[in-house]
């Protein structure tokens, strides 16, 4: 698997898109710091962007990479390699190269601005870690979609729809249901609804780091207990890991059944 991983990330590192992605983040980092002129404030603005853009890019790249590397995949399938090796290798290779673009792209401007001396270093690191998680999650989800759809345009459409759903529509439904069932205890429902969407989950994780946990405590005892203690962070991270493992496992299952 390491070999496949190496080759697909090698392949991607040379593709124009990796540079575009890297430069996009580099520019974003510098612009944010220039406009805010304050590392802590830039981190908050960055969060808003990261939880929207990273999943979108992961989704697009996942689908694009799968369809574009079909021939390469077929070439590999004829080699004495396990299917799970091939697909997991490609998946991890893609996720790693996207993550590297993200880490370097954002890391460089913030290092220039002295993130290491800033108190925001931990906020910033948790932001990057969450960004890496989101990359792995959305690449896996979109590869699953691509595996299920031979038609590129359809696959692309579904993938974008999935992103739109998780990034926007889900929260809309979530908000409306909270408002409709206003009279009932909602804290458990809210927690579960948060866990079942990786974007919401990542957002909450970053917010906890950005010290809005007490604000969340405003809403009641269950929240306070969950977000006010280390428990919340541990559970959130575990669920986030599940969000990577389950789609990755689905890639193995789906690719094992597929005809090429």
């Amino acid at each position: 698997m390491l070999k496949i991983l190496k080759y697909s990330s090698f392949d991607l590192m040379r593709s124009r898109w990796s540079y575009v992605y890297f430069l996009f983040y580099l520019l974003l980092g510098f612009v944010l710091l220039f406009l805010n002129n304050n590392v802590s404030k830039a981190v908050i603005t960055l969060m808003n962007i990261i939880i929207v853009i990273v999943p979108l890019i992961g989704t697009i790249f996942g689908v694009m990479y799968y369809y574009n590397s079909r021939e390469f995949t077929i070439l590999l399938l004829a080699q004495p390699l396990k299917r799970s090796t091939i697909f997991l290798g490609q998946y991890i290779g893609l996720s790693i190269s996207l993550s590297i673009s993200l880490l370097l792209g954002l890391g460089i401007p913030f290092i220039f601005y002295g993130i290491f001396e800033s108190a925001a270093i931990w906020d910033f690191s948790s932001l990057l870690i969450t960004g890496v998680f989101l990359t792995f999650i959305f690449v896996a989800l979109s590869i699953n979609i691509a595996l299920s759809n031979e038609n590129r345009i359809k696959g692309f459409g579904f993938a974008i729809l999935m992103w739109l759903f998780l990034a926007v529509i889900y929260d809309g439904i979530f908000l409306i249901s909270l408002m409709i069932f206003n009279d009932y205890p909602l804290d458990k429902f809210s927690l579960i609804a948060t866990m079942t969407n990786p974007i919401d989950l990542s957002r909450i994780l970053i917010l906890l780091k950005l010290d809005i946990s007490a604000l969340l405590g405003y809403t009641g005892a269950v929240f306070q207990k969950f977000f006010g203690t280390g428990l919340g962070v541990i559970i959130s991270f575990s669920v986030l890991i599940l969000w990577v493992l389950i789609p990755a496992w689905l890639i193995v299952v789906k690719s094992g059944r597929k005809d090429f």
Partner: protein, 235 residues
Amino acid sequence: MINISNLHKNFGKVVVLRGIDLEIKKGGIFAILGPNGSGKTTLIKSILGMVIPDSGKIAVNNHSVLKEWSYRDNINYLPQIADFPNNLSVKELIKMIKNLRGKTASDSELIEILGLKPFLDKKLGNLSGGTRQKVNLVLCFMFDSELLILDEPTTGLDPVSLIQLKKIIRQEKKIGKTIIITTHIMSFVEEMADEIVFLLDGNIYFKGTIEQLQIKTEQKNLEHAIANILTLENA
């Protein structure tokens, strides 16, 4: 060498293979023929494990290949469409496949024979169709395996290269390799094949030598013999 029994495969509602029973003996060139959509590629890909059959058995050297992967170490495959990762150079691709297989390879001779040397450092995305097919050939023939599966090997080749290809195939045959070829070029089949199998609508319509087919269809020419089958079938 290869034993296939009662192989079925559907793609959605389309039935592609309807219970194929086939035995391919070790050694010699074996051509799989049939009109478009008759299931040739599906059959080949089933042997390779790229298509997963709905039912039936496939054994290579008396070992079932379903859900296996290590047996492919002994198979060289030439895919129908020569498409590769565009960002790699020819050299890198060859190196990579060698690295993945971990077998000794005779790539430099083949590069020489096929005249690929000037293209070694070019990116695969910038190559013409014919050159890519040559790269495809190098990748296929550079390893020493018992079984060779060639899907439309002649696509896009110029006459000189075609002669080279035939030479290579004959050489492989001489050292006792089993070679499975699908093609639409009948002259190629006539010239090369020891045995043919004719697929029609997912069934084996005929299996035997070219002579036997000629006798059966009462046609001297293979192309006509095939045409005869198809017109009979449609009539």
